[in-house]
């Protein structure tokens, strides 16, 4: 079974995401991030697995923030997620620090 998605706001204002970002958790992620605005930093180093549903909500968040003059920054991502972002061309869209 997929593990529960956990989002923790760290002291420096980064949202630390832990768990799988997939069809099961995409809605929860979207809901948890519904209110964030401005420049949002995501630490995805503890996201082991993501699928297209997960990538869709990442792109959706990026677009919403971008439309409002904000920005989505991905501060950290594991090699596996990085590879996925590059395979799906999302590394050309999202800001990876």
């Amino acid at each position: 079974m997929a593990e529960e998605l956990e989002i923790v706001l760290t002291d420096d204002g980064t949202h630390l995401v832990r768990g799988d970002l997939d069809a099961h958790s995409a809605e929860a992620f979207e809901a948890a991030m519904a209110e964030v605005e401005g420049t949002v930093r995501l630490d995805l180093s503890a996201v082991d697995f993501a699928d297209s549903s997960g990538l869709r909500v990442l792109l959706g968040l990026h677009r919403r923030l971008d439309d409002d003059g904000g920005e989505l920054r991905i501060r950290s991502a594991g090699t596996r997620l990085r590879r996925l972002l590059s395979l799906t061309g999302l590394d050309q869209v999202l800001a990876l620090d």
């Binding site: 699928d51 990538l55 792109l59 061309g89 999302l90 869209v93």
Partner: protein
């Protein structure tokens, strides 16, 4: 009656209490059963608790049945949206849609083949989302690609149009379009965030090294072409990531599994498709629906 309690004498001084679980919408055959009830315990049995348990079980079973009905409807709609692959004299094409099975959401995997007098376009893509909604989204995206390819015969332009639709409607999709020239000697690959095709030549199979552009819906655009030679005896496999993605498998390992499966596959394309699907589903069950299209000049 929904909560008619049956009491069976077990013959050993105890009784078994049976409370039927009756479905309201569908027939559910089942009982909540309490056995080994001695005569002096009979009045202590929590009948209200048993009735509540029966109702809960009924609700769970009905929810599962309802889910399956919706999945079946989504799957039927999905299948209806997939085109019939044309029979071409000089290009063999085999396609598969592989659903995960019972209890899972229907995916947004699609394929299409558009044959024009300039080139044949093979499209494979995947819309993110699930359920009936995904079928509807697919049902809008596929005709846009088809119309653009038919009208302009330009894969880059078709991806642009699809990207605009996805951007406007906030869809997220990946797609690859292979343009096969009339000589059937060159396959031009363009990918919008889609995993690389696998090319099989008589001396072995390799994952095509392609330039992957941004996915559809990002509104960024820019899909450059990579040309692959399609010699005699070669085949090209396009697929969606459901075939290679597993939570316990890195993306490149999934692509490698697919490459090996295609390498060992029989020459006949239909048999090759079956072999590839078999290989990829038997060892690692699919987590997501998948599509596979294999083409070969003939």
């Amino acid at each position: 009656m929904a909560d008619e309690l049956l009491e069976l004498d077990a013959g050993d001084g105890t009784a078994t209490l049976l409370l039927p679980i009756d479905g309201e919408q569908a027939a559910i055959a089942g009982f909540v059963s309490v056995s080994g009830v001695r005569a002096w315990e009979r009045d202590a049995v929590d009948l209200d608790g048993l009735r509540q348990l029966a109702v809960r079980i009924r609700l769970v079973v009905e929810a599962a049945l309802e889910y399956e009905r919706r999945r079946a409807a989504a799957l039927e709609l999905h299948r209806a949206l997939l085109p019939v692959v044309p029979e071409l004299a000089d290009l063999a094409i085999a396609a598969r849609y592989v659903p995960v099975g019972f209890g899972a959401d229907v995916g947004g995997d699609f394929y299409d083949v558009v044959d024009t007098d300039e080139a044949t376009f093979v499209v494979v893509g995947d819309v993110a989302g699930s359920g009936l909604r995904i079928a509807a989204d697919m049902g809008r995206l596929v005709p846009v690609l088809r119309a653009e390819l038919t009208r302009h015969r330009d894969a880059g332009r078709a991806l642009d149009a699809a990207d605009q639709l996805c951007f406007a409607d906030r869809l997220f999709a990946t797609a690859a379009i292979v343009t096969v020239d009339r000589d059937r000697s060159v396959a031009e690959v363009r990918s919008a965030g889609h995993p690389p095709p696998i090319l099989r030549r008589p001396d072995g199979a390799t994952a095509a090294v392609i330039d992957v552009g941004p996915p559809l819906g990002a509104g960024v655009g820019g899909w450059s072409a990579t040309n692959e030679l399609l010699g005699p005896g070669s085949a090209l496999a396009l697929y969606t990531d459901g075939l290679i993605a597993r939570s316990d498998l890195a993306a490149d390992d999934g692509i490698e599994l697919l490459r090996c499966a295609l390498d060992e596959a029989p020459d006949d394309l239909e048999a090759a498709c079956d072999h590839v699907v078999d290989e990829l589903t038997s060892r690692h069950p699919l987590a997501d629906d998948a599509a596979l299209v294999v083409i070969a000049p003939r």
